[in-house]
Symmetry: D2
Subunit: 369 residues, 4 copies
């Protein structure tokens, strides 16, 4: 039933004699399909909600408790009970969270309150109909790290001022969730992630070994890490040498990450809907190394030359520090597992850019006469 | 027959209860369709070829003559004759071009040699199976201006060093055209254009009047033109105020134009496959006005406030200078008429960026010890 | 008596066999002299005060009246009267200023209230012991224009928020002026100006004609003005070709002007004490044209090549638009007539940069986790 | 005899009632003295020449040998012998250098060939009338490190292409040195250095301890070193808080260093004659943190706040990595020991900037039509 994209692909393949104008019409049509998909709400019932927060932050644990209780006690979808809530397994014995007390007071919560672990997120991501995060942008990045494959829709609450990724206010959680879990449904942005794969230099005459693989939501950074020197980096696109990077390092950023490290290094602000890979050098040694924005259909590869005297280091969304030795390489490709964030209004992004970065606001040069 | 994108759109509309994972699969499939379309060659017969050049440049007229003669005399598609060639109507009586002499020598050319005028390009663009340009990037921009609606595939010859848009060498035209008009067919990049529409301030209580409309391939520039002052510019996206521009001016550039004026003003290099609108301010009055890359699904509008004391001026691909008075506005949207350029290899763009801009090549800062 | 710098110069000339270490000591000593000079207050009596304001601004005229009356009526330097006040000759018959009424009420003002004209400023600048400006930075630039030779000390009042050049608050004028005209005296910053001289292409075999000459406090801008094209500009330093500028234009800015147009075009912020000339291109056509900061000992010359097809246009502190035709040139040199501004505290400049430009304040990129 | 700058200083101090115009004249005179000093040649006899090179580089050792032999054997200053030559003590027993053989062949060299050690450079810098370097810019930086106090004139030979600091060609050493050691004498640029002093957080109630002190010719870099985090850095000028730096790090560069790391981080090019301190942030977290150029009369201090959770690390001309713990600080001030480099022509610097950086050369954006 429903949309069969595979069939469409097949039809295109077969249509050998497609004329130029037919090709143009099809291309325009495909873009229209893409836009429609972005705009349509998801209206399925939300029966399993996961909550992610910093389990060590006392205040956040208390807010998590309030949120969980409200979700479990508010009747939904014809039942007089609420929905299943998964909280961090680290809270299982937390006195502050007080699971035992909660269940004592409300024995019906016994079957609703559950616990998630990183293992569960990796093995059964489809268990969750919605993930709520409480904290800052860092908590959202952590959530991306939890789901290395398919990602459920993510709705992020901010406690103080809204961030780039935390676009819902905690103190309005009841109104927001009632809308989303009800008739209105939710609309999501499919934020691109990168699949980054590190390959180790195999033995002479053997293939490279695939070592680590990470999904990143913001950026992959390759720099000199704790070393004093950095190797030249060879950058390939679809197996062709594009350029050799002589710089303190190099950032491969998603549009989502364009407001983070890439911006500090001089990159442009890129709207998260754009399917692009930002290449932003860190302190390049040439004057002409302007940041570049590449198509997400490109398979990028960064190689450390075998004759390099220094290693380079990768970090993934600001975490991890994986050494790339001479002969190693790392590939970067648009992931088939995007990161769906629940949106509030169409212009969330502009608001956050103006509010958080003070982009083009206040402060002006001296005027003439 | 063949691909029916409208049906796909319809199916998506109807599928009310589409689940999150189904939505994600469909989105991924649509992107795959889009990639396949970009990669497939057009293999239809090329029976009508238009040649664009600078009719006032003596050397170019002679080269046009050689090219036209070769096209008309080289037998194709089972005929012992060549194909129809349309040259600029300005050459009809040019001695240098020598149409009369050509036909005298080869009477069979009489029915093959034809003339194009701007009117013909506007009214019957589908007449041409292929357009060849002889000259620099400027000639390509002129060709874009000729075709304000549907654009035939464009193949651009360079006489000296290759440019950003002129990626075929004139002295290899026989090999190149024989391939493209033969079994191999041609692959095209659909370069985005903008449709820019100027609206004049109608009378009180009336709607705005639509005045000029232009398709641009590189950029729309709004600046103070010959005036000493420039108005603040109000920038709206989908009818919401995004920001107020205080600057010498503002560039709205396509990815194709990212190597032109936008680059001078500090914009990033953007690969032409990316569906994006570059917003690059010219000498902004705030320190925080970093260039921004917007989704091409956005309808942009730049308004001159009614209480402004100054006008602003638009230029379209570096041409024209249309005054925007207080109360007027101009809209920018991705055009439904992209500009299809015939590509040579997959990495044309990188080569031209390195070669022409010296991007990240030669010249380095002082090294340490 | 006192410091005889000419004698010092002579001594240096004669000291043929000066050793390396002696040279180094002398150089260090000279820099020390320069610092001491900057720090020492001027304690001479202030008997003649000039007030500059916008004579067409009604509010400013009233404030000028208050200021003038206070200066004339507050007894100073042993007299029971105040000091001489020069106001704009345009106010002579202004009803709002009401000179006649003032004198009627206080006949003693008759000999104290005087009028300045641009002519008087040019011919007898030493008449004024202190100039007060009321208005914005534009009024200070206008004052610089009035004094094309020697400039008296300038104290600038701001009515609203303080500007880069307007560092005294009008509503505290009594306290400020009482200090400065009293025991404390005033300390001034000698802000560099440029002497810009336009030379016209004389007849074959003749010298160039000196045409206009201007002192600028902020910057000289050379751009295409109302023209669509701009010539390449040849830049010479001490008669050697430094570079050829291909750009929308070129800014030659003083450190004072580094917070104005040069900043918009990407220049650095330069402290006004630094003896330097900022060369900042406007939208340069090469990626490597980084702004450059030149020594103020250099004599710069910008030439329009004789074979250029376009003119260029100069503007001086944002005013005037002088055409440079092919063959003309303009020279820029540190002026022997600096612009002395009365300072309040040592860190005036930093405060104004943070306050007015929001330099490095508020607004930050997305944080990691 | 000769110039007595102390007397001039004294005179300025005493001249209590110096008028404004007298002050301006004196200031102008002092600048003139400064210019004259820069331009005058040193003509003293050069009797002791030190050679610095990389003692491990075989090729350089051979070139050093040639240079030393020529200097010792070419008769100068009325003697039939040459001058004293100091080479690196590491070469004393080098077979490749072959001191023993040299003296065997030419016993008169016995008293001319001497050896320098870092200790000698620190304790008796005035022993050397001229220092020659063979190698790249790194060798010049090493020479600066050798002389932490007074620095003799430095003449730097390049073996391949000229660098920013290596402006004499080795293969023309005879002509160059004959000129400089003869009638023409040498002209030097006094390149500013910084004195950087690290202070450790003393015990409660005690003063800070002065720890390390370094003279730098290019720059002081403060960054996170091998750590993953960096502290906020508090920047003080003359004991007033100027700003708080949130960035990957911060560069304090001399004008000489403006072509090195500061340039990579986005700083302007600054002519070495300008008495200025460049403050260039590395990947700042605010959009408005434009590089700033400060007066060299300022005493800068960078403090790590006591409550910071991370350390910062200093490196001096790219060397050393000194940890700054919370509570520590480092001061930066213009050194009283500048670095005198022998100049070839007036425009050395422009040539090296164009040649080495490709500043504003070749490579241009796409042109219009």
């Amino acid at each position: 039933d429903a949309v069969d994209i595979d069939r469409v692909l097949e039809e295109i393949q077969q249509d050998e004699g497609m004329s130029h104008s037919r090709l143009m019409q099809t291309a325009t049509g495909v873009r229209e399909v893409s836009k429609q998909l972005q705009r349509r709400p998801i209206k399925r019932a939300v029966r399993n909600v996961m909550i992610v927060t910093k389990a060590r932050d006392n205040q956040l644990v208390l807010l998590t408790k309030d949120l969980a209780q409200w979700l479990m006690s508010t009747s939904r979808y014809g039942s007089d009970l609420g929905v299943n809530v998964y909280v961090d397994a680290k809270l299982r014995r937390s006195k502050r969270f007080g699971a035992a007390q909660m269940i004592e007071k409300q024995p019906r919560f016994q079957h609703l309150l559950k616990y998630w672990s990183p293992d569960l997120c990796w093995s059964q991501p489809e268990k969750f109909d919605l993930v709520l995060t409480l904290g800052g942008d860092g908590t959202v990045l952590f959530t991306s790290w939890l789901f290395q494959g398919i990602v459920p829709p993510i709705l992020s609450f901010s406690l103080g001022s809204l961030g780039f990724l935390t676009n819902f206010k905690y103190d309005q959680f009841k109104e927001s969730l009632t809308k989303i879990m009800g008739e209105e449904g939710m609309r999501v942005n499919l934020r691109m992630r990168f699949t980054c794969t590190v390959y180790r230099n195999g033995k002479e005459g053997h293939d490279m070994d695939e070592a680590e693989q990470y999904e990143v939501l913001n950026e992959l950074v390759i720099d000199r890490g704790p070393s004093s020197y950095i190797s030249n980096l060879e950058l390939y696109g679809d197996n062709e040498l594009l350029t050799v990077v002589q710089a303190d390092g190099c950032i491969f950023s998603t549009p989502t990450g364009s407001t983070a490290y890439s911006l500090s290094a001089g990159g442009s602000l890129v709207h998260p809907d754009i399917p692009a890979i930002l290449l932003t050098p860190i302190c390049p040694h040439t004057l002409s190394f302007r940041p570049m924005i590449l198509s997400d259909t490109l398979l990028l590869r960064v190689s450390i030359p075998r004759n390099s005297r220094a290693s380079a280091y990768c970090s993934f969304d600001g975490k991890g520090r994986v050494e790339l030795k001479p002969g190693d390489h790392v590939t970067i490709a648009a992931s088939q597992y995007p990161f769906p964030t629940v949106v509030k209004t169409g212009s969330d992004w502009f608001e956050s850019v103006s509010r958080t970065l003070q982009w083009n606001t206040r402060g002006a040069t001296q005027k003439g006469w």
